[in-house]
Structures are given as structure tokens and as C-alpha cells.
């Protein structure tokens, strides 16, 4: 298990180096003059030169890359051009919205999908099964930002139960902050829940056909106990894997959902930074998002090995 974890950790580091190279090349090498992108083509030459010096653009690209990586490790990411504040602080502040949002959506999607999928499998071919699969098809087809708009229409505009958008900040207490995150998390969770309920259903069906289930039934356990004690744990193996892989898309989804609910999160920061041509913010925020994607995939891999010991024996 330890060598397996060490090997995966090494893989993670290599992937991160590759990811950072892609981000660096796309945002600092390909555009040509970054200072001109930030200030526009009509900027005066001395202003451009000053910004180039401030950003360290007068140094060769490999040096800049290494300096950036050093900054990523020490937390010194430079100043945001638009906000005039350190990028690290800006990102940390926004992460305090995005991370809880993604986490709540993650929990919601599992909490919705696993029971639904198991229910559908236990009612195979019946109306309950059909209903769950129809939900799944609908969830896959409805774009998260449209679902967000529909949620706002129903719960904020018509019923007035929850806020239509914005975020009060954690300083106002956990209650109001969670209320502000509930609809966005639901909008984010729908697609994932749709995918997961399908996976849970087919994984459960597969387990239900196994010998140990027949044995458990034969020794007199009722259906519920078999589902809970024997099927659930085994069915969770593929479900966990997919949940982890989907977490990446969930994180990426925050970019769109935060826009829909005007939440001051990392995703909204990135989109605004693009329009404000604040490439330093874009570079670091995208790197962080990609880092989280890669990290979660590693955690999933390790968790997968903990639930199901088989893969670690493989070469």
C-alpha cells in the first residue's frame, strides 16, 4: 500500500509539473507580450516597460517559470493588476466560497444518487426504476446554469424562501452563508446526481446477481438487510471512483454556477479576470483548480484501494 501511494504521489507531482507548464506556456509564452495584453495595444511604451519590469517579464521565460513555481510553493503569487492586492489572499478569500460550495454539491449528489440508484435497481423494470432513469436522463440534459435560473425563479422569485444570489460572507454566521450556498449547490449537484444514480443502479444490479447475495438471502436475511449489508459496500466501489472523477467536473462547474448566483468564488474570479485581462489572477486560479482536480483524483485512487484491496496487487 505504501509503495503504491508513493508511486501515485510521484505521478501526481509529474502531472502537476506538466499542468503548470501548459498553463505557463498558454498564458505567458503564446500571447507574446503579456503587458500589452493587460494594458491594451494603445498603451504608452514607458507604461508597458514599467509593467513588464513589475511583472518580471524582462527576464527569460525559464527563469520566470521557476520563479512562479517558487511563488506557488511559498504562497507569493504577485499582485493582481485589477484589484491591486496580493493574488494569494484574493484566491484564499474566494476559495472560502468555492470549496464549501463544491463540497456541499458533492455530498448532495451522493445523498441523492446512491439511494435513488439502489431503489431503481431493487425495483428493476418497474415504474420506480423507470422514474429514476427518467430523472437521470433529465438531469443529464438540463444545463446547470439553466437549472440555476429555474431554481432562482421557483425558490427566490415565486416562493421567496431562499436568496436569489450573492453571498453574505462567513462573518455573518454559518446559517445565512449556508442558505446562500444551498441553491447553487443543488444546481451543481443535479448533473452529477444524474450520472451517479445510473452508475449506482447498474453497480447494484451487478452485485444483486452475485452468489454471496443468493447465499445471504438463502440464510434468511431479508432484502433490505442484504441490500444494506452486502450489496451497498460492494456497489460503492465503482460509485466512489466515478464520484471522485466527477468531482473534477463539479469544480469546473462552479465557474458557471457562481456566475448564475453572483457568488464571489474562484470561478467567478477567473471569468471576471479574463474580461479585465488580469492574466496573473487567471494563471494562478486556473493552476489551483487544475491542482485540485489532480489531487482529488489521487485521493480517489487511494480511497478506492482502501475500499477494494485488489488493484494494489496489480503491477
Amino acid at each position: 500500500m505504501l509503495t503504491f501511494a508513493a508511486r501515485r504521489l510521484l505521478g501526481l507531482l509529474l502531472t502537476l509539473v506538466a499542468v503548470s507548464l501548459v498553463v505557463f506556456v498558454v498564458l505567458e509564452v503564446l500571447p507574446g507580450d503579456v503587458a500589452e495584453i493587460i494594458l491594451g495595444t494603445e498603451a504608452r511604451e514607458d507604461t508597458l516597460a514599467a509593467l513588464r519590469r513589475q511583472l518580471g517579464l524582462d527576464r527569460p521565460a525559464p527563469t520566470r517559470y521557476l520563479a512562479w513555481i517558487g511563488g506557488l510553493v511559498t504562497g507569493d503569487l504577485g499582485l493582481s493588476h485589477t484589484y491591486g492586492v496580493p493574488v494569494a489572499g484574493l484566491i484564499a478569500e474566494r476559495l472560502a466560497v468555492t470549496a464549501p460550495l463544491a463540497l456541499i454539491a458533492f455530498i448532495l449528489s451522493g445523498a441523492i444518487a446512491v439511494p435513488l440508484g439502489m431503489f431503481a435497481a431493487s425495483r428493476r423494470g418497474g415504474p420506480g426504476d423507470w422514474g429514476v432513469m427518467a430523472f437521470s436522463q433529465a438531469g443529464l440534459a438540463i444545463p446547470n446554469f439553466w437549472f440555476a435560473i429555474l431554481l432562482i425563479l421557483v425558490f427566490a422569485v415565486w416562493l421567496g424562501w431562499l436568496p436569489a444570489g450573492g453571498f453574505p460572507g462567513w462573518g455573518e454566521g454559518i446559517g445565512p452563508a449556508l442558505r446562500a450556498l444551498l441553491l447553487p449547490a443543488l444546481a451543481l449537484a443535479l448533473t452529477e446526481a444524474a450520472i451517479l444514480s445510473r452508475i449506482t443502479r447498474s453497480a447494484t444490479l451487478e452485485c444483486l446477481g452475485e452468489d454471496y447475495v443468493r447465499t445471504a438471502r438463502a440464510k434468511g436475511l431479508d432484502r433490505r438487510a442484504v441490500l444494506r449489508r452486502h450489496v451497498l459496500r460492494n456497489a460503492l466501489i465503482p460509485v466512489t471512483t466515478i464520484m471522485g472523477l466527477q468531482f473534477a467536473f463539479l469544480l469546473a462547474g462552479t465557474v458557471i454556477v457562481e456566475q448564475a448566483f453572483t457568488l464571489p468564488g474562484l470561478g467567478r474570479l477567473v471569468v471576471q479576470a479574463i474580461f479585465q485581462r488580469d492574466l496573473i489572477v487567471v494563471k494562478n486560479a486556473v493552476m489551483l483548480l487544475a491542482f485540485m482536480v489532480v489531487l482529488v483524483n489521487l485521493v480517489v485512487d487511494l480511497a478506492y484501494t482502501a475500499i477494494d484491496p485488489r488493484p494494489k496487487a496489480a503491477p
Binding site: T15, A18, V19, V22, V23, V26, L27, L30, P31, R124, G125, D129, W130, M133, A134, S136, Q137, A138, L140, A141, I142, P143, N144, F145, W146, I149, L150, I152, L153, V157, I195, R198, I199, R201, S202, A203, E206, P238, A248, F249, L251, A252, G253, V255, I256, Q259, A260, V270, V271, A273, I274, F275, L279, V282, V286, L289, A290, V293, V294
Partner: protein, 284 residues
């Protein structure tokens, strides 16, 4: 097998799903084609007097904040969605299948490189790639095509490699080798025809992913720019006026959902017709 099953469980239900999917996709294609010769109103004609109307006899789906006819704009939006989807699938299949087949035929270093490159691509979900491209090139309609296209290259490369490796061990490939056929003639003449089913099914699914991604990017303002109508941007604009004209925030979303539902059902149905044991991943 973890192949996720869709509507209903029996094969009868599958045919219904396939028919519904084909009908929905047909409807979107028809709307896009008809929009070239006819729309109920000139789609970009501004009529401030008739702004933010609900559905009426003249404007079946109402009008937006400029008084433009929503149905006409949705028809033009279908053109945009299909164009982005087709282009992204074309890029993904042309390059991805070539890379995947090369990896499977050559093995060794080339295969390793292709696989690691796909790993790297998957570290950037479509939205993130699009954000990078938009930061580089500014907002525009091509962003979505390139972003989904790059992602699709990785999806099809993996899929083609995996499927090709399975086919390569089969006797007819050995027979072709025995009579002296070269690797490329075997790849094109024997492997490709045997993996086209799984490629076509995945293409349907990725088409749906492309439509969703394009809509999402346009919603963020990073996709096609005004005045070209796009379903995603229509929703973005409608959100501002949601309190006065909720209908405007419903119809473009319905168009996206029906197009995607149609493609997904079509993909599920095709999968069952071609090979029910196929595993299809939805990636994006």
C-alpha cells in the same frame, strides 16, 4: 459490466427512447436548416415597442428585451449549437482516432506519450480549457470549438486505442498480417470498421457535451459574441429580466435540454443496436 442503462429496462423501452431521441435531434436539425430560408421574424430585427412580451399569436415564444422574436432566435441558435458540436466532434475524431490507432499499432514510446497526453488533458475540464483559450485569444465562438475539440481528441484517442487493442488480437488481424498487409492497411481496413460502432456512440454523447459546453461558455460571455444568437447567451440576457419576463428564461433552456436529451437517447439507442455490451463514458 458497468454499462449504464437508460430509459426503462426492457428492449422495448429502448426502442421508444431511440425513436424519441431521433425525433428530437431531427427537430433541432430541421429548425437549424429551415432558419436558413425562413424564420417567423427577421431574427435580429429590433422592435422596442414589443419588448419582453409573453407568448402571443404573433410571437409564439414571446420577445426579448430588444423586442426580437424568441422563436426566430432559438432557430438561429440551433444552427450555432450544431455547428459547434459538429466541428468539435470532427476535430476530436480526426485527430483522436488517428492518435489512438497509432498508439495501438506502434505501442512503446508513442503509446506512452499519447496516454500521458490524454491524462494531462483530463486535468483540464472543458470549461477550464475554454477559460485558458479565452484568456489567450479573447471571447469568441471558436473558443468552445477548440476547447471541446481538444478534450474530444483525448476522449477519442483513449477510446480508439482501447478498442483497437481488443481487435488487434483477433484471428482476422493475424490473417491479414500473414498475407503481408502493412500496419496502416490493417488499421484502416480491418481495425477501424470493427471499432466504428463504439466511436459513433461516443460521438453522439460528446456531441451533447459540446452543445452543453458551448451553451455554458456563451452564458459566461466567452462564446459567440452578439448579435449572433446563441442559446447560452439568450439565457444570460434573460436572467436580467427574469422578474418581468420569466418565459424568456425558460424557452432557450428548453431548447438546450431537448437537444441534449435527444442526442443522449439516440446514443443509448445506437449503443443497443450496435453492441449492448459497450461501456459509454460521458466526459466533459
Amino acid at each position: 459490466m458497468i454499462g449504464a442503462r437508460g430509459f426503462g429496462a426492457g428492449r422495448g423501452g429502448r426502442h421508444v427512447g431511440f425513436a424519441i431521441g431521433a425525433a428530437l435531434v431531427g427537430l433541432v436539425v430541421l429548425a437549424a436548416l429551415v432558419s436558413f430560408v425562413w424564420t417567423p421574424f427577421p431574427p435580429l430585427a429590433i422592435d422596442i415597442a414589443a419588448r419582453l412580451e409573453g407568448p402571443t399569436a404573433a410571437h409564439w415564444l414571446g420577445t426579448d428585451h430588444f423586442g426580437r422574436d424568441t422563436l426566430s432566435m432559438i432557430m438561429l441558435g440551433a444552427r450555432n449549437a450544431l455547428a459547434v458540436g459538429l466541428a468539435a466532434i470532427f476535430i476530436g475524431m480526426a485527430l483522436g482516432v488517428t492518435l489512438g490507432l497509432t498508439a495501438a499499432m506502434r505501442r512503446g514510446l508513442i503509446e506512452d506519450l499519447v496516454m500521458r497526453a490524454t491524462d494531462l488533458t483530463f486535468a483540464f475540464p472543458v470549461v477550464l480549457t475554454a477559460v485558458l483559450i479565452a484568456a489567450l485569444a479573447g471571447p469568441g465562438g471558436v473558443n468552445a470549438i477548440i476547447a471541446v475539440g481538444i478534450f474530444n481528441i483525448a476522449v477519442f484517442a483513449r477510446l480508439a486505442r482501447g478498442a483497437a487493442l481488443q481487435v488487434l488480437g483477433r484471428p482476422f488481424v493475424l490473417a491479414a498480417q500473414a498475407i503481408g498487409k502493412g500496419p496502416w492497411r490493417i488499421a484502416v481496413g480491418h481495425v477501424l470498421p470493427n471499432i466504428q460502432g463504439v466511436l459513433i456512440v461516443q460521438a453522439t454523447v460528446q456531441f451533447a457535451v459540446a452543445i452543453l459546453a458551448e451553451a455554458g461558455l456563451s452564458y459566461l460571455g466567452l462564446g459567440v459574441q452578439p448579435p449572433t444568437p446563441s442559446w447560452g447567451r439568450m439565457l444570460n440576457e434573460a436572467q436580467t429580466f427574469m422578474f418581468i419576463a420569466p418565459g424568456q428564461a425558460i424557452f432557450p433552456g428548453l431548447a438546450i435540454a431537448l437537444a441534449v436529451l435527444g442526442l443522449n437517447l439516440l446514443g443509448d439507442g445506437l449503443r443497443d443496436l450496435l453492441d449492448p455490451r459497450l461501456r459509454v463514458w460521458r466526459m466533459g
